[in-house]
């Protein structure tokens, strides 16, 4: 694929759209959670206000260079993941730079932010950050196992690592989706998906009640605002990746948003229904059934 300068503008436009969709979904999801708890809940635009507020804070305290870079790495993990896959299949506008990256790169980006964040939070020096990081990295590593196994499975299945090609192979009928052609890989990946969406039962990393509040304990003002921006982009990017890999991609925005919303609801649904796992339990859980399903997916292609 040849490179045009216009692509950068297109990519920024799609990033902007996704940021907004991410913020709105965040608000709606919290609203749904509140309604389940018989509360009225936050206003749907509250995430915007929180974001503005944090960017508007006047002072910041720094703990060193890595402390600055932590949120930046986290954000670049989210944006990087987003930029190297096609958002809308077949659209010249919203291809991003999908021609330049492959699945391995994307898998790396999913982990990259967490690693950067770990270094940054570590420099903050707060004991709660350290506990949060240890928990987060261990759980993240375990949650990646089923996902990577699923990625290997579909890479073998489609004989390619290019996300665009994988989406292309799923076009036509709904029965061409990976969901139907390789259900085992989809199930493994969907279980792995729960691990990184920071919801129950896998949200002990942030666990505000016991280790206020995990890795970001020391992050405030603008640092926190950058992290919040990523909180809107990263789950969206990851969900879009799943739509691309397992649910036939999307050829226009409405379809994408519907698919993303439904997929986003999966961890939310699990989250409101199940209590929290301890880290050792969640690691054991990921390495048992989901990982096993992932291995079966590779064996039965």
């Amino acid at each position: 694929m040849t490179f045009h300068w216009m692509q950068i503008v297109y990519a920024l436009v799609s990033l902007f759209i996704v940021l907004n969709v991410g913020l709105v979904i965040q608000g709606i999801v919290r609203k749904i959670g509140a309604r389940l708890g018989r509360r009225y809940g936050i206003r749907w635009y509250q995430p915007y206000l929180d974001l503005f507020k944090n960017y508007a804070m006047r002072s910041t305290v720094s703990h060193g260079i890595m402390f600055y870079l932590g949120p930046v790495f986290r954000l670049s993990g989210g944006i990087g993941l987003f930029l190297f896959m096609p958002v809308i299949y077949g659209s010249a506008w919203f291809q991003n730079f999908s021609g330049s990256g492959d699945l391995i790169l994307l898998a790396y980006f999913i982990f990259f932010g967490t690693l950067g964040m770990a270094l940054g939070a570590g420099e903050g020096g707060h004991p709660y950050s350290a506990i949060g990081i240890t928990r987060g990295l261990s759980q993240m590593t375990a949650a990646e196992v089923p996902l990577i196994l699923a990625i290997i499975a579909i890479a073998v299945q489609y004989q390619t690592l290019s996300v665009t090609d994988i989406v292309a192979a799923q076009q036509g009928s709904i029965l061409n989706w990976t969901l139907f052609t390789n259900p085992l890989a989809t199930v493994a990946a969907m279980l792995g998906f729960l691990g990184s969406m920071m919801r129950s039962p896998f949200d002990v990393v942030l666990a505000p009640q016991e280790i206020p509040i995990g890795p970001p304990t020391e992050f405030h003002s603008n640092f926190l605002a950058v992290l919040q921006t990523n909180r809107a982009i990263f789950p969206m990017a990851k969900t879009i990746l799943y739509v691309n890999l397992f649910f036939g991609g999307a050829t226009n925005w409405p379809v994408l948003i519907v698919k993303v919303f439904l997929l986003y609801m999966w961890p939310v649904f699990i989250g409101v229904a199940f209590p929290r796992f301890r880290v050792d339990q969640s690691i054991r859980w990921f390495l048992r059934i989901p990982a096993l399903i992932g291995i079966l997916a590779i064996l039965f292609i």
Partner: protein, 213 residues
């Protein structure tokens, strides 16, 4: 930690090498803070609106009033719908909610928590104990007026204040912030010497730097 732990001294590390430790400089920042002026007028209006609609609370449950924060979160009163949320760390909070009587011992921690919050920050004091000592007014180990030690934005009267009155207090706070009067952080720094003198008068074992970043 006692005052002796803060003195400069030589210690021997586990590897046998001796080195000097100066806790005041190594563990704390001793630089004096400075006031932060608001952005330009139009921008500041927008910022103040955002600040007033997104108040993050650090609940400091020192006394009876802290009990009222639970119903405030839960379905009956549900403060979340007004953009009020709870944060467990002072770094990310804007509003320090001091509930009820403050013993001298806790005052020290309240001051530390307050100073670790970022500018702009607000203080809300619940109950008659923070206004005039309440039923502890002649007690030997509680303070009588919170605003001698921290710049208080809103007092909520009552013993203890009901959630409705706390909500009313929060609405009052929002009005103040929107009007650009929520400058407690700057007031505190501009009058740091006065506040510190008051604080040190009552906290006898002062074992921290003058400002905890």
């Amino acid at each position: 930690m006692s005052n002796d732990d803060l003195k400069k001294r030589r210690v021997k590390g586990p590897d046998g090498i001796e080195f000097e430790v100066n806790p005041m400089e190594d563990y704390f920042c001793t630089e004096r803070p400075h006031p932060e002026s608001p952005a330009n007028r139009i921008l500041e209006k927008f910022f103040n609106w955002a600040r007033s609609e997104s108040v993050w609370i650090l609940g400091y449950g020192t006394g009876c009033g802290a009990i009222e924060m639970r119903p405030l979160m839960t379905p009956r009163f549900d403060a979340y719908r007004f953009g009020i949320q709870w944060r467990p760390t002072p770094r990310q909070s804007n509003l320090l909610m001091v509930s009820g009587y403050l013993s001298v011992k806790t005052l020290k921690r309240v001051i530390r928590s307050y100073e670790q919050m970022q500018n702009p920050k607000f203080v809300m004091a619940l109950g008659s104990c923070t206004i005039n000592g309440g039923m502890y007014w002649d007690s030997y180990n509680t303070i009588n007026r919170l605003d001698h030690y921290l710049p208080v934005d809103v007092y909520v009267a009552g013993c203890m204040p009901r959630p409705e009155s706390i909500l009313a207090g929060l609405e009052e706070l929002k009005k103040r912030i929107r009007a650009g009067k929520g400058e407690g952080a700057n007031t505190y720094i501009e009058n740091l010497d006065w506040y510190k003198a008051n604080q040190k008068k009552i906290i006898k074992d002062w074992d921290m730097p003058d400002y905890n970043w």
